[in-house]
Amino acid sequence: MSSNTDFEPKIIAFVCNWCTYAGADLTGTSRLKYATNVKIVRFPCTGRIDFLLLLKSFAQGADGIIVSGCHPNDCHYTSGNFHARRRWIAFRSILDLMGVDIRRIQYSWVSAAEGSKWADLVNHTVADIRSLGPYQEYQKIADYLEKGGYHGED
């Protein structure tokens, strides 16, 4: 996969309401700038973020994903992020076994006070995904039913 300077990656961010969403609010209040590629979906807690949403995002054409919540011990619900951390440890290991490109999922802890960290995270992730290129490997097969691609037919 070659990097493509014209390529504008689609990145979706799953964040918790109490830390990262608030941190991203602070980025705004601080007028820090970041790329428009990332769009945020708000969740009560990282503990709520279903791994299936990540899979569906890739299938729907996301080139990259950000998952972010409270730092350990800072969870509004005390342990939602710890549950989430375990979920991501397992999920990453399974995706890696299956050959899914796990470099395209960026996990992070961004607190409500880390407005600049959020901007950095977004900009870094956009740059990383831009250099990885579009996730065609995944998107290509998302459309296939059976024929027309993966049965050795073409």
Binding site: F82, R86, G99, E146
Partner: protein, 266 residues
């Protein structure tokens, strides 16, 4: 073998149990047998070819009924029974476990504590087949792994034999049948199949006992058991669980530790 037949016949004749779940000779290899009277207990066999995980039947109420029943359980089945117990799916007063220990002795395990103690003696090891395929996968690059699995997944026609054969897939409505929203596309297609198998592996974290029933059941020969197996091997030391010796409360994904290790969260 004779001892198992005798014991099963006695249990049924004396009304201790109304059903003995065991194995009989099948077309090419032994198959599950439901003995409901001492007469049919004569058909029972038990040897190393008996590999069906009979624990899959234990959560089917219409089959096991309301009375006490016995199950002939090799070690893999015992591990599943322990996991089912922790997940509130079995009760001690309904179940009697018969097994044959390595010395050939017939053992009766009455309590889950007994089963746990018995299971503890056996180590879970990779077989030759698992070793061969997994080491092949280990050597692949990410792109090769993706190609390998996509090729395998293109054969899957979603008969769900893997799900049906798994003792731990006892949900009354599986997530693939949830359609608001339709998380996983119900038709067989390479990606929809992949999503199903990733999902299955995630649902098995901290639960899979690596019995291999899913892989054995797959009619098109996808080594799906190795997905959960590899996951189990990677996660067990990470989260400190031992298949067949589950923690009393919760499992790997419903519990956590302050110092769970990861290197990927920025």
């Amino acid at each position: 073998m004779e001892k198992i037949r005798e014991r099963a016949a006695t249990l049924l004749a004396e009304g201790v149990v109304t059903l003995v779940l065991g194995y009989e000779e099948g077309t090419k290899r032994p198959r599950p047998l439901f003995c409901r009277n001492s007469e049919s207990a004569r058909k029972l066999i038990f040897d190393s070819r008996c590999i069906h995980n009979l624990a899959v039947y234990l959560t089917k109420k219409e089959l096991v009924g309301k009375d006490r029943f016995a199950v002939i359980a090799p070690i893999a089945t015992l591990r599943s029974i322990m996991q089912l117990y922790v997940e509130n799916q079995l009760s001690e007063d309904k179940l009697l476990v018969l097994t044959v220990d390595p010395s050939g002795e017939l053992r009766e395990l009455v309590t889950f504590e007994d089963i746990a103690g018995y299971v503890e003696q056996f180590e879970l090891k990779r077989g030759e087949r698992e070793q061969e395929i997994l080491s092949k996968i280990d050597e692949m690059s990410r792109e090769e792994r993706w190609k390998f699995w996509m090729e395998e997944m293109s054969h899957c026609f979603k008969c769900y034999a893997c799900r049906s054969a798994c003792p731990l897939c006892y949900c009354s409505k599986c997530v693939v049948e949830v359609n608001r929203p339709q998380w996983i596309n119900p038709w067989p297609a390479p990606l929809a199949n992949m999503e199903w198998h990733i999902n299955r592996a995630m649902h098995m974290v901290g639960r899979c006992t690596a019995c291999g029933a899913c892989g054995d059941a797959c009619p098109v020969g996808i080594p799906i058991d190795l997905i959960t197996r590899k996951m189990m091997e990677d996660m067990a030391p990470e989260f400190g669980y031992i298949p067949g010796q589950p923690a009393k409360k919760g499992n790997a994904l419903s519990t956590w530790k302050l110092d769970d290790r990861e290197q990927f969260i920025r």
